[in-house]
Structures are given as structure tokens and as C-alpha cells.
């Protein structure tokens, strides 16, 4: 049975996903939440990941060859949907005691710089389809682990409703729809160099994201 590329990608990057999921810090966060200090630190780092998400997509879209027009259009749609989501992170931070000015002044840590730096570099120098690897890793993190993590945070910090978890909580649901769309677009990628770039990007994104959580 030969799998379409999405299934193949799941199999080829399963170890990276499992390494992220089973990292003791990640497991503890999903099982028991985290202190408000560490949650603030996580959201401050996430703010920069989200802030650079659309520019990375734009960089990739601008370099996408014409035979990958469907991927380019997918990115346009995706950027439109993600536009302004950094505001959700800023609001969540405000709900847990971080003023918007503090959020904007926060200098990202080296792991966040490495994540964003890789994604810009890969879109520019490796292959524009690398961006699909970034999307896959971040959407798996959001849609598979985001829901339980949001529940754990609400329980551990006694937050009410969506206050303080609107970004993570809503992405857990939103990205479920995105996962189905991403599967469809990944299955249109047939070039082996593009596929290899996507696989590498998934591995690197899981790696750096794990380091971000680990360093909190």
C-alpha cells in the first residue's frame, strides 16, 4: 500500500513528533499545566513565532514556482486566516498580567530565533515548500496537543472560560480544519526535493519548539 505524501510524512517524521510529545517538560505541561511565570514565558516566545508566521509564508509564496500555484494559493488563504492572531496572544498575556507594551518589548530567546531563522532560511534557500513543514509541525502541536494543554493550563491556573487561553484553545479547534486542508495540499506535492525539504522542516520545527518549551 503506497501512501499519499501526507501519510508518508506522518510516518517519516513520527520519531520527531514522539520526541516532542514524550519530552518530560512537554508531558508535564500537557498533564499538569505550568506555573503562571512559565506560561507567561511560553506565550512571550509564542508571540514571536506567531508574529513571524505570515512573513515566513509570504517569503515562501513569493519563491514558489508556477507549477506549485495550488500551494501558493493555499498559503494566501492560510495567511489571511492567521492574520492578526498575534493579537490573541497579546490579549492572553494581558489576561495573565503582561501589559501589551511588555509583550512587544520582549526579546525572543535563542530557540525562538533559531526556529524563526530556520524557517526564513529554508523558504529562501532550501525549498519554498519547506514552509509546509513549518505549518505541519505547528498545526500538529496546536490540534493534537493544544486542547489538552489548554485544559491543563485552565485547571492549574484556575482560569475561567477562554480567558488567558484563547490562542491555544481556539487553535486546537481551528487547526483541526487546517490539518485536513494541509493534508490535501501536501498530497499535491510530488517533487522529491520538495518532499525532502518538508520532512526536514518538520523535524527542525519539532526540535526547536521542544527546545523553546524546555528552556522556559
Amino acid at each position: 500500500m503506497t501512501l499519499p505524501f501526507f501519510g508518508d510524512l506522518v510516518v517519516r517524521t513520527d520519531t520527531s513528533r514522539r520526541d516532542f510529545e514524550t519530552h518530560p517538560v512537554v508531558m508535564d505541561a500537557v498533564a499538569s499545566g505550568m506555573s503562571v511565570q512559565r506560561y507567561r514565558a511560553l506565550l512571550l516566545e509564542l508571540y514571536h513565532v506567531v508574529w513571524h508566521f505570515n512573513p515566513v509564508c509570504a517569503a515562501a509564496a513569493s519563491r514558489m514556482a508556477d507549477d506549485l500555484a495550488s500551494v501558493r494559493y493555499f498559503l494566501y488563504e492560510h495567511m489571511h486566516e492567521e492574520s492578526g492572531h498575534e493579537v490573541w496572544v497579546r490579549n492572553d498575556l494581558q489576561a495573565i498580567g503582561v501589559a501589551p507594551a511588555q509583550t512587544e518589548a520582549h526579546a525572543p530567546g535563542v530557540n525562538t530565533l533559531a526556529l524563526n531563522g530556520y524557517n526564513y532560511w529554508a523558504a529562501d534557500r532550501r525549498h519554498p515548500c519547506s514552509v509546509l513543514g513549518m505549518l505541519y509541525a505547528l498545526e500538529v502541536i496546536a490540534s493534537v496537543y493544544g486542547g489538552p494543554f489548554a485544559s491543563a493550563i485552565k485547571e492549574s491556573l484556575l482560569l475561567e472560560g477562554e480567558q488567558g487561553v484563547s490562542f491555544i484553545g481556539s487553535h486546537a479547534t481551528l487547526d483541526a480544519k487546517h490539518m485536513a486542508e494541509l493534508r490535501q495540499v501536501l498530497n499535491t506535492v510530488h517533487d522529491e526535493a520538495a518532499r525532502a525539504a518538508v520532512v526536514e522542516s518538520v523535524q527542525v520545527n519539532f526540535h526547536h519548539f521542544t527546545r523553546i518549551v524546555e528552556a522556559l
Binding site: F6, D14, R17, T22, V30, A180, R183
Partner: protein, 315 residues
């Protein structure tokens, strides 16, 4: 038989690097012991299944090399939690039925090997210490000899999140315990103690906690002198109560279709179980088993207050 080839095959088998299993070889009995250790959450991850499949393929490639195949868990308190829940959630959310079916096929390939082990000249024994849930319990049913320590428990909790065990549970439970027991176990989602599973006929031997190792030794040494006759009888048993690969795969197809119809609420229950597994792996006293019991209570509460039972919904 070609002895040097067999040694080469064995060296290759034992010499491979493995992440999720540990192998032990007892040359006197030609016994291969597989200790599973998918840390920190013991489940059938893709890597674990790939490594097991490789071991089984190596054994099948060298007839006569292995006479006894023994499987145990190296993770204290857990034999196996079954499927990789996070992977299921990923594939369901992505609507990826091909990969769900492939995952099911990989599971079926493992149990199909066990089903045919006697034909390959291999007697199989499994010893369960701790919890074995869903696919974990399905995976032990095709073994020739199933040993449980008294503190172990097992069940098929899938119905609690609107799914069913789709990789051999029906075929092997019906064969060993009958239709009534299969119905009760699969449709209730309940967990059962070792003695209950033995009374059903799913477990051959229950021993006190800590006595499992001695029981393996006793079983293997008891079978070894009459291995050829035992294997012939076990092949005949399979013919008398046949299980077919096609039937197993047809059920996998139904399972993957059902998985794709899981709702957000169902997936959240699955995630609740995954969180409980993570808590236990992190050192908490309570884990997936306690969470399943809570989910059973929630279901019972809903039935009491709504009058709707799982059976009622079926009819």
C-alpha cells in the same frame, strides 16, 4: 538445516539497533525474549511496530532458528496501553483514512504472524504485568500461552470514546471466550481483573505478582520436550476455529471509517485518556486505568439520568 546460516541470521537479529524493544536469547531453548520499552508511554507507536515487525520477519526468514518467542514489558505497571492516541487524533483531525487503515494493517500483520507462528515452528508465550488496554489486550490474545500476574488487568475501553477495538479483538475474543463475552467486553468498555479474564478463557494462567518470570520458565520448559506435537495441535486448533486475514482487514476498514466519524467530544475524551497516561508516566499515582473508571462512571451517570444505555442505542 544450515547451521552457519542460522547463526548469521541470529546475529543479524540480535545485532540490530532497537529503540523500543530489548532482545534476550537463550540458546539452550532457542528462546527469543522480547522486552518492550516504549518510553515514557508504553504503546504501539509506529517505531515499536516497525521494530517488532522486523524481528518477526527475521524469525520467519530462518525456519528453526527460534523455537520459543516470549514477550513481556519492561515498563513497570504497564504491559501496553494500545494504540498511539496522539497519532490517532492527528490522523482523524486530518481526515487521513489511508494512514488510519495502514496503521490498522500494521497491527493486523503483527497478530497475523502470531496466528501463524505454529506453522513457522514457533511457540509463543506472553506474560502481562500491569495494565493492558485496547490494542495492548488485542495483541496478547493470539499468543499460544497467555500468562497474567494477579495484579494485571485489561479491557477494551474504545467504546467510551465512540470507537471499537478494530485489530483482532472480535475474532480472537469470540474464538477464545465466545460471542457473549466478546459482546460484553467490547460494548461495555469495562476493565477486567486477571482472574475474570481467566474465567472467560482469554488468559491461560494467573500467577501471583512477582511469579510471572517463573511461570514463563515453567511454560517454556514444559512445552519444549513436546514442541512438535504441541505446534501441530495448535495448527489444527487454528483450522478448527479459523480466523482469516481478510476478516481482520475488513474490520480494520470498518474501524478506520468509524474513527473518521469521531466528533470533537470523542477526540477530547481520547485526549483525556492521553493526558492521564502522561500523568502516570510523570510519576502520578493515577493514570489511564483510573481515568477509564471515571469515564465509565460518567457514562453510567448519563445512562441513569437519561435512560439511554449503550445497548439501547444499538437497538
Amino acid at each position: 538445516m544450515n547451521a552457519p546460516e542460522r547463526v548469521g541470521g541470529l546475529q543479524q537479529l540480535l545485532g540490530r539497533p532497537y529503540r523500543t524493544i530489548r532482545l534476550e536469547w537463550t540458546s539452550e531453548l532457542r528462546q527469543l525474549r522480547v522486552r518492550t520499552c516504549v518510553r515514557p508511554i508504553q504503546c504501539y507507536s509506529l517505531t515499536a511496530m516497525g521494530e517488532l515487525q522486523q524481528v518477526l520477519a527475521d524469525i520467519a526468514a530462518e525456519p528453526g532458528m527460534v523455537r520459543h518467542f516470549v514477550m513481556t514489558s519492561d515498563v513497570p505497571g504497564v504491559f501496553n496501553f494500545g494504540g498511539d492516541l496522539a497519532l490517532f487524533v492527528l490522523l482523524v483531525r486530518a481526515g487521513d483514512i489511508d494512514s488510519l487503515r495502514l496503521y490498522g494493517q500494521r497491527c493486523v500483520d503483527l497478530i497475523w504472524w502470531m496466528e501463524n507462528a505454529a506453522r513457522l515452528g514457533v511457540h509463543t508465550t506472553v506474560m502481562v504485568q500491569g495494565d493492558t488496554l485496547g490494542g495492548g489486550l488485542e495483541s496478547v490474545l493470539p499468543f499460544h500461552k497467555v500468562i497474567f500476574e494477579r495484579g494485571a488487568q485489561g479491557g477494551f475501553p474504545e467504546v467510551l470514546f465512540n470507537l471499537f477495538p478494530g485489530m483482532g479483538a472480535w475474532d480472537f475474543t469470540v474464538r477464545k471466550a465466545g460471542f457473549r463475552v466478546a459482546n460484553e467486553m467490547i460494548l461495555s468498555g469495562r476493565l477486567y481483573r486477571a482472574e475474570e479474564l481467566q474465567a472467560f478463557g482469554l488468559v491461560d494462567l494467573v500467577v501471583d505478582d512477582g511469579e510471572g518470570e517463573a511461570a514463563i520458565e515453567q511454560v517454556v520448559r514444559g512445552v519444549d520436550p513436546r514442541l512438535r506435537g504441541t505446534l501441530a495441535a495448535l495448527q489444527a486448533r487454528s483450522m478448527a476455529a479459523p480466523v482469516s486475514y481478510d476478516s481482520l482487514m475488513a474490520i480494520v476498514t470498518l474501524w478506520s471509517d468509524a474513527a473518521l466519524r469521531l466528533t470533537d467530544r470523542d477526540l477530547r475524551l481520547m485526549e483525556r485518556l492521553a493526558r492521564a497516561q502522561a500523568r502516570k508516566a510523570g510519576g502520578a499515582d493515577e493514570g489511564a486505568v483510573e481515568e477509564i473508571k471515571r469515564m465509565e462512571l460518567d457514562t453510567a451517570w448519563e445512562e441513569t439520568h437519561t435512560g439511554i444505555t449503550a445497548w439501547g442505542e444499538l437497538h
